[in-house]
Amino acid sequence: MTIVIFGGAGDLAHRKLLPALYNLHVDGLLPPRIAIVGVGRRPMTDEAYRAFARDGVEKFSRRPIDAPAWEAFAAALFFGIADLDAPEGLAPLGARLDIVEHERGLNGDRIYYLAIPPTLFQPTVKQLARSRFVPPSDGRRARVIVEKPIGHDLASARAINEAIAEVFDEREIYRIDHYLGKETVQNILVMRFANSIFEPLFNQKYVDHVQITVAEEEGVGTRAGYYDEAGALRDMVQNHILQLLAMVAMEPPHSLDADVIRDERLEVLQSLRRLEGEDVDANVVRAQYTAGFIAGKAVPGYREEKGVKPASRTETYVALRVCIDNWRWAGVPFFLRTGKRLPKRASEISVHLKEVPPILFNADPSARLDPSVLSIRIQPDEGFSLGINSKVPGPNVQVYPVKMDFHYGSTFGGTSPEAYERLLLDVIAGDATLFMRRDAVEAAWQWVKPILERLEERGDKGLATYPAGEWGPEAGEQLIESTGRRWLAP
C-alpha cells in the first residue's frame, strides 16, 4: 500500500499526519509493506523529507522518537513533486510512485490524502483521473481522503462532492472530521448502547436539555486568511458540532456497519428544525473577541490579529439553540456554542436530566438541588462523569452534588491514540464508519445555509463582542438563561 499525501510538506502533515503514521508504525498497525509519499510543488529530497517528518514527530507525536523504530519508519518515507496546473503535472509523480512501489514490492493499492486547501480538491482529483491514477487497473484499489472544510457553503460543497464523485466511488471517499476519530466520541456509542443505564434516559421524557461546548483558547493564529472568510459557524458548527450532536442524538443502529451508523447520524441532521429569518435572530448569537487576557497574558482583539481585515465582521463565537423534531427529542433544546479565545481549550457534551419535583429534598427554593448531568469530556482529560446528589454524612439531612467520574488517562493508563491515528487506520482497513458521507455533509450545509444567509443579510447588526478570556458575550448567556438554564463551564 502507498499513502500519497498531497500537501505532504504542509502544516497538517507536519503536525498531525506524519506523527500519526509514526505512532501507527510503532504500534505495529501499519501494513508491513508500505510507502508514504509526500507530495508538494517544490522539490525536496527524500532525506530532507525524512528530516521534516522527524521534526514533526519530535514536536507533535504523543511518543518520543525511538531510534530503531524511526529508522524503519523513515525508510518508508519518500517525496515527490507535482504541478497541478500543468496538463502532465502528475507524470513525474506517477513515475516516482511506480519506482517506489516496484522497489518495495508493494501491491499498488493507494490512498490519496488531500491535505491541501479546498480550492485544490477539484483540480487534484481531475489530475488524478487525467493521469490515469484513478481508477487503477489490475484490481488495485484507490481511495481518497478529503480534509475539511468541504466547501464554503452548500453550493461549493456540492461542487466538490460532484467533482470527487466523477473520479472516485463513494465507498472509496473518506471525508475526515477529526472529531469523529477522538476516543471519547467513539465511546459515545459504547456508552449509550453498551450500558443499560443511559439509553433509556436519552429522550424527551428524562432529558431537560443538552449542551455542546467546543471552546478554543487559541486565537486565529496562522489561519487568519482562511478563518476570516469562514468564521465559527462554518469552521466548527457545520462539521464538528453537528457531528457530535448526531452522535449523541442518533437512534440505535441495528448493526455496526458503517452505512447503518451513518444513516442514523444523517437522520438526526435531517430532523434538525430549520432556522431562518427571525428565528435565526432569536436562536443564534454570534460575536467577535476583543482584546483581553488568556491565562494572565494580554492578547489582542480579533480585528488586531495579523491577517484579519480591520473591519472584519467574521464571528469568532457562535451559540445556537436548536431543536430536533423527532419523537425522541421533541421539546428538548440543544444548546451549542463554540468560540476562539475562550478561557480554556475544552470540548464537552453535557446531558442535563430533568429536575426532581420541588418536594422532599428539593423543597427549599433558595437551595434547589442540582439536576443530574452526564458530562462527556471529549478533550482534554477524556472521560465522562455523572453528577448525582448524595447525603453528606452526619446527623442532618444535607445534600451535596457528587460525581461518578471516569477518566481515560488514569483508568487505562498511557495516552489515547490521536484521532488521526484511528482515522488513518480505518482508511487503511476500509472502514468508513467514522467518516462523513456525502449526504451528511450536504445535509449539514443545507441546515446551516439559511443561517448563513440571515447573518449575511444582517451584516454588523447583531454581531456582539466579548473580551478574550471570557466565556463569550452577554447575549450568549442570555440565550440560555432566558430559558431558565445556564451554561455549564467545562
Binding site: A295, G296, S366
Partner: protein, 327 residues
C-alpha cells in the same frame, strides 16, 4: 484516619502546562498497583498573600491544613499567591501535585495546583477560569487577615460561589467588617465565617434557655457582651445576631476585653439575670435558681470546620442578617 497522606507527587509546572502535567501525574499513578480514584467535590481556591519567607513555590502551601481539608472534602485545590505587580514579565509560576489518601483498597487522590501570580488583577479571572472545573461548585478560602489587606479580588467573587474566611484572624474588627460588609448582599457569593461556626453552640444554648430571640423572654432586656483578648470579632458577631433578631429592643452593649474576664471564656453575654459563656469546650448558660444549661462544643479540627463549611451549599441567612445588623 481522614487526613493521613498515603502518597504525594509534585512537579514544577508552567502556566500553559498545568492540565497536561496533572494528566501526566494521573497517568503515572494509573500505572501503579494501587488503583486510585480521582476525587473532586469542588474547586477550592485558596488565597495566600505573597511572602518573602516562602521563596520556593512548593512552600506556598506551608502552614495550611490543605491535606487535612482535602482528605475530608476532596477538592481541586488551587492555591493562589497573587501580587499585583504589572511590571513583571512573567505572568506566573506554577506547580502541580496529587496527594492520595486512604488504604489501598479505597485510595483516592486530590489535585493541588499552586500558582504564583504576578499579573494585573484584571487578568486574574482569565487564569482562574481555565483552572476550575465547571461541573462542581467553587469556593474561595481567604486565608489572610481581611482587616489587614486588600478586599477579595472581584474576579474571585465572579468565579466563586462561596467566600470562606475566619474573622477570628482580624486584627482590626472594624476594618474587617468594612471589608466584608459590601459582600453581604452581593448575589454572586455566599459568606462562610469559621468564627460564626464557633458561635453556634452559644446561640443554641441561649435560644434553649430563653426561647427564640423574637419571643417575650428577650423583650426589653439589657444585654452586655464581654470577650477575651483577640476575640473581638466573635463578640461582634454575637452582637450582630442579637441586634438582628431583636430589632425594636435596646442594642446589646459590647465591652472590650476586661481584665476580670474568665481566663477560659471566649465570649460572655449577660442578659438580665442570665449569664452565658462560650469556652473552647462548652457553651454554658447560668440561670438563677436553676441548674446550668450546657451545650458541648463539637471537638472538630480546623480542617473539619473548613470541610463542613465547604459542604454547605445553602446561604447562611442568619449570618447575613447578623452582618447586616452590624452595618
Amino acid at each position: 484516619m481522614a487526613g493521613a497522606v498515603a502518597t504525594r507527587t509534585w512537579r514544577e509546572s508552567a502556566p500553559d502546562a498545568i492540565e497536561s502535567d496533572l494528566a501526566a501525574l494521573w497517568r503515572e499513578l494509573g500505572h501503579g498497583e494501587v488503583k486510585i480514584a480521582r476525587a473532586v467535590m469542588s474547586n477550592l481556591i485558596v488565597v495566600r498573600a505573597p511572602s518573602d519567607q516562602r521563596p520556593a513555590l512548593a512552600n506556598v502551601i506551608a502552614g495550611l491544613p490543605l491535606d487535612e481539608v482535602g482528605a475530608r472534602h476532596p477538592s481541586r485545590t488551587i492555591v493562589l499567591e497573587h501580587c499585583n505587580r504589572k511590571a513583571l514579565d512573567t505572568p506566573f509560576a506554577a506547580g502541580v501535585g496529587i496527594v492520595t489518601f486512604g488504604p489501598p483498597a479505597s485510595r483516592y487522590g486530590v489535585e493541588q495546583i499552586v500558582v504564583r501570580s504576578a499579573c494585573p488583577e484584571s487578568s486574574l479571572l482569565s487564569m482562574l477560569r481555565r483552572l476550575v472545573r465547571g461541573d462542581v461548585p467553587t469556593s474561595v478560602w481567604w486565608t489572610e487577615d481581611l482587616s489587614d489587606g486588600p478586599p477579595p479580588f472581584d474576579p474571585l467573587l465572579t468565579i466563586g460561589r462561596q467566600i470562606l474566611y475566619d474573622s477570628r484572624q482580624w486584627s482590626d474588627v472594624a476594618r474587617g467588617l468594612a471589608t466584608i460588609l459590601p459582600l453581604v448582599d452581593d448575589p454572586r457569593v455566599d459568606l462562610a465565617d469559621l468564627n460564626w461556626r464557633r458561635l453556634a453552640p452559644l446561640r443554641r444554648a441561649l435560644v434553649h434557655a430563653r426561647g427564640p430571640l423574637k419571643g417575650d423572654g428577650w423583650r426589653g432586656v439589657a444585654i452586655e457582651v464581654d470577650h477575651a483578648p483577640g476575640e473581638a470579632a466573635i463578640a461582634s458577631l454575637l452582637t450582630g445576631w442579637l441586634r438582628a433578631e431583636r430589632p425594636g429592643d435596646p442594642p446589646p452593649v459590647a465591652t472590650a476585653a476586661s481584665t476580670q474576664h474568665d481566663q477560659q471564656a471566649i465570649v460572655t453575654v449577660k442578659i438580665a439575670d442570665t449569664t452565658a459563656t462560650l469556652t473552647a469546650h462548652a457553651a454554658e448558660v447560668a440561670i438563677p435558681s436553676a441548674p446550668p444549661l450546657v451545650v458541648a462544643v463539637p471537638q472538630e479540627s480546623y480542617a473539619d470546620a473548613i470541610a463542613a463549611e465547604l459542604r454547605s451549599l445553602s446561604p447562611e441567612v442568619t449570618l447575613l442578617a447578623a452582618m447586616r445588623a452590624l452595618a
